[in-house]
């Protein structure tokens, strides 16, 4: 976690990379056990990333579009979880913050009449505000009464689900008990242009706010004095307090910003992937995917972006695998094992050390010696 010079920086990158590789190895083994060729899976994944099907020689850009569409919300929830984590908070509430963002987006989409250039940004801002507000609640309880954020955010996930469903069905009205009326065209992130260049994928303008979100995550945490104080609070609350930082205020602000990322995800899904507000039977898992993305991305902006794309391709390549006769659950198995391998960070570090032989071992000992004060 620490920014501790070149040595550990390379380790910080190597561990998730090794975890990803091991995840694919494990996935391949499972496919072998089911009696198929893992090459089919890699073909499907390459197809998911590039659009090229190496085995049949065909090209379909729709796969690229679908990859981006699948990645967008989990990059955002990854940013949400990662941002809170950098301040020392474990935000399990990305799911609920996302739902509130989606609800606010629905409200603005249905009730406001404005040209698209105003309507769309307004919807996105409303989503961020609602997500931020939903994040502020656990933040406030943590700062004021020291209630653990894990407990509050988990409960607020259920609350958000039911607030969303009640409001969608009773306030905005739904004929089929599932969705609201269609949004006006001015509210949508959809783009016939983007759809046509990707051969009819669901790709939409939502990727622009996602890219902006990744950049602001990086900028706030790494470049601003506010981000410095957030990181200080995350690493050592007592030292932050000693230095005169407002620890409580930082906790609330961090949760608001984290919630805004998830709220944005809700708005992007609602007006990009769909075109109506939705009542949900259960949580859709974006929040938990976000935890995995943040974990594999080591809570840093570039890492979260890449991890989001990786998990996005595992999702978007699912149907491709299935049509090649490989169960689509393989994607889930790989995702889960990557997370597991990242969690086995220490073990992987040892393996990497062993792979690099004796010289590296000496370095490990020296690091230990350094810590022992020698």
């Amino acid at each position: 976690m620490a920014d501790t010079g070149a040595g550990s920086k390379s380790r910080k990158v190597l561990v998730p990379l090794a975890a990803v590789a091991l995840g694919f190895v494990l996935g391949s083994l499972v496919i072998l056990i089911t009696g198929r060729s893992p090459l089919l899976m890699f073909n499907a994944i390459i197809q998911g990333i590039t659009g090229f099907n190496i085995m049949s020689g065909s090209f379909n850009p729709r796969h690229i579009g679908e990859l981006v569409v699948q990645s967008m919300p989990i990059i955002l929830t990854g940013l949400c979880v990662g941002f809170a984590f950098r301040t020392g908070l474990f935000n399990i509430g990305a799911e609920g913050q996302l739902m509130m963002g989606a609800l606010a987006a629905t409200a603005v989409a249905l009730t406001v009449r404005a040209p698209a250039a105003i309507h769309v940004p307004l919807i996105l801002l409303a989503g961020m505000a609602a997500g931020g507000l939903w994040g502020a609640i656990p933040g406030y309880f943590k700062a004021r009464f020291n209630v653990h954020e894990v407990v509050v955010t988990i409960m607020l996930n259920y609350t958000a689900l039911h607030v969303n469903n009640y409001t969608i069905l009773n306030v905005f009205g739904s004929v089929d008990r599932v969705k609201t009326a269609e949004f006006p065209a001015s509210a949508l992130l959809r783009s016939p242009f983007l759809a046509s260049v990707t051969n009819g994928s669901r790709l939409n303008w939502g990727f622009i706010p996602v890219v902006l979100a990744v950049l602001s995550f990086w900028f706030i945490l790494e470049k601003t004095s506010f981000g410095y104080s957030l990181r200080a609070v995350g690493f050592n609350k007592d030292a932050a307090k000693y230095a005169g930082m407002k620890v409580e205020r930082n906790v609330v602000l961090s949760m608001i910003i984290a919630g805004a990322f998830a709220g944005l995800a809700g708005a992007v899904i609602t007006t990009g992937t769909f075109s109506f507000g939705r009542a949900l039977p259960a949580a859709e898992g974006y929040g938990f995917d976000g935890i995995a993305v943040a974990l594999v991305g080591m809570n840093h902006a570039p890492g979260i972006l890449l991890a989001g794309l990786l998990f996005g391709v595992l999702k978007s390549a699912g149907p491709l695998m299935q049509s090649a006769g490989i169960p689509r659950e393989i994607g889930g198995i790989i995702q889960a094992s990557i997370v597991m391998f990242v969690a086995m960070k220490l073990g992987i570090e040892r393996l990497l050390m062993m792979a690099r032989g004796r010289k590296a071992k000496a370095a490990l000992e020296a690091a230990g010696a350094e810590e022992a004060g020698v």
């Binding site: 920014d3 050592n236 020296a366 022992a372």
Partner: protein
């Protein structure tokens, strides 16, 4: 007499540094053998080799005359070598007995036979005069008691040779006296002790022989009774060390920090500081001494804004700061070197340069319009590293966590002195540091005084208080029980006041 342990011509390399260079250590059975050296001299490496944590590049180890290969700590345990680590390795919500038997639980059928284990623990405790309650939970007992649990752990495993790694660093003066008595008792019962330390006083008091290391090299082994403290210090540091602090008489000026009838609650909700009043004047060092836990921590935290003040007031340069938040107190000229440098003083996961701007990161030149200027932050660190001789392997980019205690403390000192506070609260500035670093830090504190700053020095080390202070205030039970001139008092008088049996007009 036969040697129980012989480490012959040990050499150990780490990348870029030779931690042990042809070191020979021979320990007699039944002796207390001290291993002396500054931080980084290679003491811990040598002991880690003996304990099987590292393998040496060359050299031989003999235990009881037999040549052995200590490949891992289990081998060391079988050879009867036990180590009391500086940082205890105990499970806090387990009882003493549960901690001691961890890993070799006696069984009765399927269940752990706790009763027979506690009995054995109680017997061992009695034999060596440890007075440990086998049923107490670790989190409920003092640090000194926890250390005894670590000792019991070794005895329970029938260790013959006990390695103590800086055992007094975490103890109060009384606990140190008790530990010394315990060590003597252990030797009487036929154990052998290897004592790693950089405190000369303790070596003089308990050790029979002393081996000195400097920068990985063996300097020599001396009989403690024939060697003076100054001679051993010179062996350790490589030059003459002055134990007393050179300083001119204080020229106190106007009052800078005024504490009036201060009351502060402690963690238990009781008054930890009661009606405390002191004045601190420009150009003087006021030492605050007392036994640990008599309100020092509460006082420091109340002055610096980390704890709420119940009643009374604090004035910095005549301005009331009683209810101001931390940042505003700092801006009004308060400086603070915290007693726990890891908990409060540093963000260990930050780089050194980031730590150097812990207070000032939001102000120019380090940030403009809320955007950090990393170039300015790095230059600031380079300047302070140079000026305060902070040794950090990768310069400003060094992880604070990887630095030695002495250099971490120098970094904090550099940061605080550089802010140039008018009223400077310095707590435990030299805890756990070696003589070289202590000498340097004392010199800088006196230099600040001579620049006209007002300094409140809070320390548990009586020697430090007596050496550095101009006036000494004694705190007992949260009250000031006396203020005396440092030149006109001695350890005895202070000791009596510290224990509450003497009061002197304030």
């Amino acid at each position: 007499m036969a040697y129980i342990i012989e480490m012959l011509n040990i050499t150990k390399d780490f990348p870029g540094i030779r931690a042990n260079d042809d070191v020979t250590l021979q320990v007699e059975k039944g002796a207390i053998h001290a291993l002396l050296g500054e931080n980084g001299a290679g003491k811990s490496t040598l002991m880690s080799i003996l304990f099987g944590l590292y393998q040496p590049e060359s050299g031989r180890i003999k235990v009881r005359g037999q040549e052995v290969k200590v490949t891992d700590p289990n081998v060391a345990n079988e050879l009867g070598i036990g180590m009391v680590h500086q940082h205890f390795k105990l499970v806090h919500n387990f009882t003493v007995t549960e901690n001691i038997i961890l890993g070799l639980e006696p069984r009765k059928g399927l269940a752990v036979d706790i009763d027979s284990a506690s009995k054995k623990v109680a017997e061992l405790s009695k034999l060596y005069g440890l007075a440990v309650d086998p049923h107490a939970k670790i989190e409920d007992i003092s640090v000194g008691m926890q250390q005894r649990v670590e000792i019991l752990k070794m005895l329970y495993r029938d260790a013959e040779i006990l390695i103590f790694d800086e055992p007094t660093a975490v103890l109060t003066p009384q606990e140190i006296r008790e530990l010394i008595a315990i060590m003597r008792r252990l030797v009487e019962e036929g154990k052998t002790i290897l004592l790693i330390t950089h405190k000369l006083k303790e070596i003089k008091e308990v050790a029979d022989r002393c081996t000195v290391l400097r920068r990985g090299k063996l300097i020599g082994t001396v009989e403690v009774k024939d060697a003076s403290e100054a001679a051993m210090a010179e062996m350790m540091v490589g030059r003459e060390v002055s134990f007393s602090v050179d300083k001119a008489a204080a020229k106190p000026g106007d009052t800078v920090l005024e504490i009036k009838e201060l009351c502060v609650k402690n963690a238990k909700g009781l008054l930890g500081v009661k009606n405390l009043s002191i004045e601190l004047r420009r150009g003087e060092i006021l030492g605050l001494c007392g036994i640990d836990g008599n309100g020092q921590t509460e006082l420091i935290q109340a002055l610096t804004g980390l704890t709420k003040i119940e009643s009374g007031s604090v004035l910095v340069r005549g301005e009331d700061v009683t209810n101001l938040p931390v940042r505003q107190r700092l801006d009004r000229g308060l400086g603070h070197i915290p007693e726990d440098r890891h908990r409060h003083g540093l963000v260990l996961d930050f780089r050194l340069d980031e730590n150097m701007v812990l207070h000032t990161y939001g102000k120019p030149p380090f940030a403009r319009y809320g955007i950090l200027d990393f170039e300015a932050i790095r230059k600031n660190a380079e300047r302070l590293i140079e000026e305060f001789d902070v040794r950090a392997g990768k310069g400003p980019a060094t992880a604070a966590r990887s630095m030695s205690g002495g250099n971490q403390q120098k970094a904090i000192l550099a940061r605080e002195i550089d802010r140039s506070p008018e009223a400077f609260i310095i707590a435990q500035p030299t805890r756990g540091l070696d003589v070289g670093a202590i000498e340097y830090i004392h010199k800088r504190i006196v230099a600040e005084r001579d620049k006209g700053k007002a300094i409140l020095l809070v320390s548990l080390e009586l020697d430090e208080i007596l050496d550095v202070s101009d006036r000494i205030a004694v705190i007992y039970g949260g009250e000031i029980v006396g203020v005396v001139d440092a030149k006109e008092t001695d350890e005895n008088e202070l000791g009596l006041m510290m224990s509450g049996s003497l009061r002197k007009a304030v």
